[in-house]
Subunit: 558 residues, 2 copies
């Protein structure tokens, strides 16, 4: 008897699992069931389709050489049978059978399996809000929805995005690029909650505002108003005009069929799997957006659905289902998004995640140009590194700015995977030439500052704390150690100017016992000032993390 | 008594060592001696100054906020004394004294030290060739030389670069951008020997030729001819017209003073140091281009002078000289260069280096777009991964192409530092969104192919071997599994077309015992074809590494 592998779901994870199963075991019969019309499409490309960055839907469904990934492609090339428009209504684990519903004919049938792979994906969460069923209120996940949104997007009309996560931001940008007046509403008090710490998310928020998007944080949406189609979004006291609404509060794993069949669901709400992607039933595997993954830093099950993870898990599930042996190593929580000119992302744990995990946390904020500062096209990026004070281990990196953040995230994701310490990161032999990096790469500078902080040499204080001290009328000196020209151009109200080059001479004029917080543009001179003051016998010198570039509050101009 | 730290050399490593020493030990007296006029400049930026990409020399001597790093800067900001135009003529290790020669006044003096840091840098090699002293024959290392070259570079005049290494290529591009007719002459039979394997270097060579540079490999230069200034470069039979010549055969560490003082010189010819950057004299440290570094893959002393390494070593030498404790972890051999539109580089060992180290080597060539193929601006890059068959450990990565190679190199450098296997690299959680990468990053695809090769599932054969078989009239089938349209556009002479989608049906028409080598555009379909033929009982199916994109020979067009 041929081994029969049945895969439920023909997208990233399912398509990968099926292809891999057939490749590993060419004698096996591999059948993929999908309730949709289209298969194996690049859902991550949808915002770019809406914005016309990607011209045709076909491009999202094609291989790199332009072959459409349809049923024929899978049959001819992969040797895999695909049944579209077919829903799996149940799994009889006793009889090893899936129950099928043909959505075209309405017919019902059964299909036996030896091994089953669940790749049922995720669905956009539709919050239970008043009038959420009005016309022109969309989610964006399927190609059908993408088409509908694109057709409804009219220049100069109003759009409202509900949810300030990755998909919400990408869609907001897409609609803005179509010329719409866009309002982005987020319930929590920052954008990208769960992805970025507040001060890094702020850099993204600033860019959205500069691009003409209205951003409302701390604004839970209560419902919608309109006639046949939506006209307003109701958020507390506010009524936001909107002829088009995108619901993007997040996604939820599709686990109904698995749950009904008695397959274990994890604490995250997604299907629980072991390192072989096996569910609680040894003949049933799961992969992609429907299942959990172990976070390699926290060690905990996590739910971070991404196309990159789906492909890796699909490979593992497919190999194991076909009788091979593979394991999935887990995720590092890496995410990235482009928001207009800004690239922003994270890997590992944010500061808030690390604190929630109980780590004794140290952080570094390090802004710098993304390549040699004298090289044309160099653009600033801000890194935030999070480390464990006890071990010196780097727990996470966040990065945002117009420059190349992705490569710092990738190097950090790799370092974090190998449990690198700040010391080890500071020694990485990263690629150096002026078009690519400074002689000391941003990541290495951040790690060096982290080493200085962990050793107690560098005493940083966050912009948030400095702001609180200023607001509270705290008795301290905020010391601007930049040049007079820099100081004249832009500054922080209440700061005293002593350029770094004068500090050794002028230190005698400063009170030795008072708290002194030095800053510059990025914090490197601020740190040098602290060291000069330390050496001169000052009792309480610090520097402000990230300097002016990381100051998220109003600045004095001119 | 104050500790006195004397540093010889005020560039990258020396400046860093001095600043760090003072910061670690503010009571110490730190004195830097340099024989030049300029200090702490970005020598790596010189080609970009020559090409006018960087407008002013000042930019190479400034901090990111535009402060010139001169003696005053070091005194005021760093608390370090700098003596320029001063040559160290000898070290009396017994008396712990350096002998100084003031190049301006001609005066001679002595300076005592407690700790000495050698940061004497490197010098361009000037080969002993006939008439090498003619006018307009330059090396490019100092800012003075850079100025002279820039002044001599006239549009439409002829220039010849002797040496096809990193500096030679960067300078060739700079002069080409100034409108010169440039010939690049390399003694060995490929560009970038010691940096890239032949087939990757070929991609760079092709770009140089497309940009109008004449490239002559396997051409040792025997001398020069001309009047007051150079007119011709003599290379074997050839006479290359040149009104400007750049000698770029490489650099040599400046070790004369150290050698005369009896300090141990390593096998590479550079100063031998331990992990603390200490020389054979426990009170003397060395850092930067004058010393060796341990290669973390080969474990051997290596000489790869780079500004990035100089900064790290300077930090370590400065800390230790001042009484602190730090170690340098070694280098991974990472290098990168931009050659017009092409980015190219390596980390770890090349295939030839790995073979020379005695590894049982497996390689993968993997070309692919650098981001989601449907995303506008996606550009191809080719990765070459080198691994150890015995352990599966990744030994090196090379990358070249118009797309983002630097981030793949940085992630690989990090992975290699932690002795990652191909399996571990394939599981990295790299940042994914369509503007940055495909769902399966190029690095992960390369690692997956490597896993398949190491497990014996994928049997690749290099373009070089295929070419040899074709030239020898070997009896085999070269199977083009691309689409008829792709096949019609460009192909390899002698190949038989069976599109992948037809292969399962048409396999019966192919001889089962003959060697069949499948290929496509990049090799992924080629590999699928091999698996289909394997499953159909073919005895000797293979695929050609890298497909058409990695085929370095003539192609059939149309």
């Amino acid at each position: 008897m041929k081994l029969r592998v049945v895969v439920i779901g023909a997208n990233a994870a399912g398509a990968k699992a099926a292809s891999k199963a057939k490749r590993v075991n060419p004698q096996a019969e591999v059948i993929v069931i999908d309730r949709g019309d289209f298969i194996s499409y690049g859902a991550c490309g949808i915002p770019y389709y809406i914005s016309d960055t990607v011209a045709h839907l076909d491009e999202l469904m094609s291989t790199p050489v332009g072959v459409i990934r349809d049923g024929n492609f899978f049959k001819k090339v992969k040797g895999v049978e695909v049944r579209t428009n077919t829903e799996v209504t149940g799994i009889d684990r006793e009889r090893k059978i899936v129950q099928l519903h043909d959505l075209a004919s309405g017919g019902r049938s059964e299909l036996g399996y030896d091994r089953l792979v669940l790749a049922t994906g995720s669905s956009p969460i539709v919050p239970r809000l008043d009038n959420v069923t009005l016309g022109n209120i969309f989610t964006v996940k399927s190609l059908e929805q993408a088409k509908a949104v694109k057709e409804s997007a009219a220049a100069d009309a109003t759009a409202c995005i509900v949810g300030g996560g990755l998909i919400g931001l990408e869609t907001a940008e897409a609609l803005r690029q179509k010329g719409m007046k866009v309002t982005l509403v987020e319930m929590r008090d920052q954008l990208l909650p769960g992805v970025l710490d507040r001060e890094i998310a702020f850099l993204v928020e600033r860019e959205l505002k500069q691009q003409g998007i209205t951003v409302l944080t701390g604004s839970p949406v209560s419902g919608f108003a309109g006639g046949e189609t939506v006209e307003k979004v109701l958020a507390g006291e506010q009524e936001i005009p909107a002829s088009l609404v995108i619901l993007a509060p997040g996604v939820t794993p599709n686990v109904a069929v698995a749950r009904e069949a008695g397959i274990a669901i994890g604490a995250t709400g997604a299907i629980a799997v072991d390192a072989m992607q096996r569910t609680s039933d040894p003949d049933i595997y799961a992969c992609g957006d429907c299942c959990e993954a172990t976070h390699i830093v926290s060690g905990k099950p996590s739910y971070i659905p991404l196309g990159s993870t789906a492909n890796k898990q699909g490979r593992v599930a497919g190999i194991n289902a076909a009788g091979g042996e593979a394991t999935f190593a887990g995720v590092a929580g890496t995410s990235i998004l482009r928001a207009f000119r800004i690239n922003a992302g994270k890997t590992g744990l944010t500061e808030s995640e690390a604190r929630a995990c109980g780590y004794d946390v140290e952080t570094v904020i390090s802004p710098a140009p993304d390549r040699a500062h004298f090289f044309p096209g160099a653009k600033p990026i801000v890194l935030k590194m999070v480390a464990d004070r006890t071990t010196g281990r780097v727990l996470g990196l966040q990065a945002a700015g117009e420059g190349a953040v992705d490569k710092r995230l990738d190097a950090a994701a790799t370092a974090i995977t190998f449990r690198a310490t700040a010391e080890q990161v500071s020694q990485l032999d990263l690629a150096y030439a002026p078009p690519y990096a400074a002689a000391m790469d941003n990541l290495i500078v951040a790690a060096d500052i982290m080493k200085n902080k962990l050793a107690g040499h560098a005493r940083g204080i966050s912009a948030q704390e400095v702001k609180r001290k200023l607001d509270d009328g705290h008795d301290f000196i905020l010391l601007d150690v930049r040049s007079p020209a820099e100081h004249a151009e832009v500054g922080i109200e209440g700061a005293k100017l002593v350029p770094l080059g004068m500090l050794r001479e002028k230190a005698a004029e400063l009170p030795k016992d008072k708290e002194i917080i030095a800053f510059c543009k990025i914090s490197l001179r601020g740190y040098e000032a602290q060291k000069i003051l330390d050496a001169a016998g000052f009792a309480d010198a610090k520097f402000m993390d990230g300097g002016i570039l990381a100051w998220p509050y109003a600045l004095r101009r001119g």
